[in-house]
Symmetry: C2
Subunit: 404 residues, 2 copies
């Protein structure tokens, strides 16, 4: 296919795209040809910019401390419920928006291990995101437990067979990422959860790279715990509060290690003794970051309006369109070829990824670099057009050598 | 003094107030006669509203992921250093702005106890803020330690004599609040720190109710650890990130329990093994909330411009002016009468505090309620005028009965 033909194809895919209108709902990124990093940091929705400004003036400035009695106190749970409905496939009362993914993972890991006091192993894969691995090692040390490593193939990631090798009566908890941060490989949430349960262990899913771009069904899959960030496909801004999910059946027993006034049964009693809230609030700690939570609300609202099935369908079309073009270059691909197994980013292997990224950036194309030799090309369905994918690819092809 | 005379006096105090101009730097609170709760939630500075809006459009929207290479990664430490210089009396490299006060207290408490492995008691007073007490109990349980309680007089709070009774060879760490959240009593940071050190223990100061309104000299007082929030006198907004200080001499040994990619020596190495950063970054965990940190920067900047000595001098004049008027009502006072020992809020005891607060609120005066019988009247020197204090008092006098 010639370049002119690809352009025509991109234009026609854009014309048929039912989500095309969402692109205008984001603030412009001046001078950019293509933004291929919505999988690291999503673009700011105009609605979020407006909401934050109106919050500062109207609610923080106008209501001041009274705001806490007018819904602020409940926001971590209120927006948690909204996110649960729009993004996580979860009934109300099991999700909060607060803290960072790291802090939330720390909390649910301790909670999960406490629920399996007679077991002493935490399972995680060596390909998982560094923070997840660091935290598993840290929590294992703190609880006198052992880390059991899965060493998966980079593209296949954690398979049922690989998991079967490490599960046993020792297994207290297993930490897996729904979509691998490097390859973009999707794991089978329902199947692997069932497998962990069969061993008597509990599962903790990290949803950072799937929340807002893949349909998720935490309740239906019988998941125990989940965490994830909101600044990628949920577009809530750099370092916006993360989310945390605890299945209702564990709520009465789930104990986390960082108690604070927001996790206490009676927030304003200021009483002498700590009693954890009976509900999901027990997973909170300190005063929640309200502006961040409101940004999460805007992100979840947009996803709900677009619908995750439509978002996923466009994500597949986007990555397939990109793959088709990437296949014409001399680069190795780390992402699964099967669309069913691929999230919303495509990872290619190029020597001197940082150097290539620098040249791309100078030409207005922003990818994500993982040293030393990976370029992740993230396609965010609500803000990325097919024409943008093609134009970004054309710049990449200029740098990497002529397409065949 | 007649009401007319008090009004004249307020006007003349305002005319002589070198900080009076700062009041206009805050967004208006429409319809309010007096805001007496800057000690719970400071008002939004106009500069912060502008900075947040420009960040969303210009940096988040315009620079996108590139921002992380353009100073974002360093912001928790950069703004930590700015806060250290403007507010904490601390040299650079010892302070970060991140997470909540609860999470930060959890981290430094574990770090402090690890530095005293042969000791088994954590000391805290029964009057301390609930979260501090909950966390001390939680950390003690997690480490197999014991909580040793000080039961101080409500107004006197923790004295050297009370502290002497509980310190000993068992003492690993002591947690105290610089300014008591109920009474507003100021503790002697330097003296009590020295006393704890003489016992061989380490001190953790909670600066929530003093940061930005009282001069603090952490380095000069030889403090080991400190934490505090930024949404009171630093005006950074509801749930804005908190701060955390570790004295340089402890940095190489201070180990905290929530490792994440932001606390790792090499953030982007994504390496297999966790090595804590050699510097203050080791106290971080996950991706920091940038908008919150930028709001802290604006707050610290305003305090630096006004100067803490001038802020403190006005704070004393404000509370003295209020006390003079409160003394004409039939209410008990929980705050110290000596200005040297009183922070920037005055606490009075009234039956049915919530009912009184409701009537005050309906008349445009916002105090802070602590059930069942305390009203805290917080006076924030940068945003509160003497006329405001008088007008708020006049409404209170109308409700509580005629002044004598």
């Amino acid at each position: 296919m010639s370049d002119a033909e690809l352009r025509t194809r991109a234009a026609s895919l854009d014309a048929e795209d039912s989500l095309a209108g969402f692109r205008e709902r984001f603030l412009p990124a001046d001078g950019l040809v293509a933004y291929f990093d919505g999988n690291s940091l999503g673009r700011p929705p105009r609605a979020t910019a407006e909401r934050l400004a109106s919050f500062v003036t109207g609610e923080w400035g106008g209501r001041l401390i009274r705001g806490w009695d007018e819904g602020w106190v409940e926001l971590p749970v209120t927006v948690g419920d909204e996110l649960a409905a729009a993004v996580l496939g979860a009934a109300p009362g099991q999700t909060v928006v607060a803290d960072s993914t790291s802090v939330n993972l720390f909390k649910v890991l301790h909670a999960a291990c406490r629920l399996r006091p007679d077991r002493y192993e935490i399972v995680i894969d060596t390909t998982n995101f560094p923070t997840d691995r660091y935290l598993v090692e840290g929590v294992a040390e703190q609880r006198g437990m052992t880390v059991r490593w899965i060493e998966p193939d980079l593209v296949e990631n954690v398979t049922a067979a690989a998991l079967a090798e490490v599960l046993g009566e020792r297994t207290a908890a297993v930490v897996l990422s729904h979509v691998d941060y490097r390859s973009g490989t999707i794991l089978d949430v329902a199947g692997l959860t069932q497998q962990v349960h069969a061993s008597g262990g509990l599962i903790v899913w990290d949803l950072c790279h799937s929340a807002g771009v893949l349909p998720i069904a935490l309740d239906a899959a019988d998941v125990d715990f989940a965490v994830g960030c909101t600044y990628k496909y949920l577009n809530a801004g750099p370092g916006a509060p993360a989310f945390l999910y605890v299945a209702a059946r564990h709520l009465s027993e789930a104990a986390q290690p960082v108690p604070g006034w927001f996790s206490a049964a009676d927030l304003f009693a200021m009483s002498g003794t700590y009693t954890a809230a009976p509900d999901i609030r027990r997973m909170l700690s300190g005063t929640p970051n309200l502006m961040g939570i409101l940004a999460v609300r805007e992100g979840a609202k947009m996803v709900a309006e677009a619908g995750l099935e439509a978002i996923r369908a466009k994500s597949i079309l986007l990555t397939e369109f990109l793959l088709e073009q990437v296949d014409r270059l001399d680069v190795a691909m780390l992402s699964p070829r099967s669309s069913e197994r691929r999230g919303s980013h495509v990872t290619i292997q190029v020597p001197d990824a940082a150097g290539v990224a620098g040249r791309l950036g100078a030409a207005g194309v922003i990818p994500d670099v993982r040293h030393p030799d990976l370029l992740r090309l993230g396609l965010s369905p609500l803000s990325t057009s097919f024409t943008e994918v093609h134009e970004g690819w054309a710049v990449l092809a200029d740098i990497l050598g002529p397409p065949h």
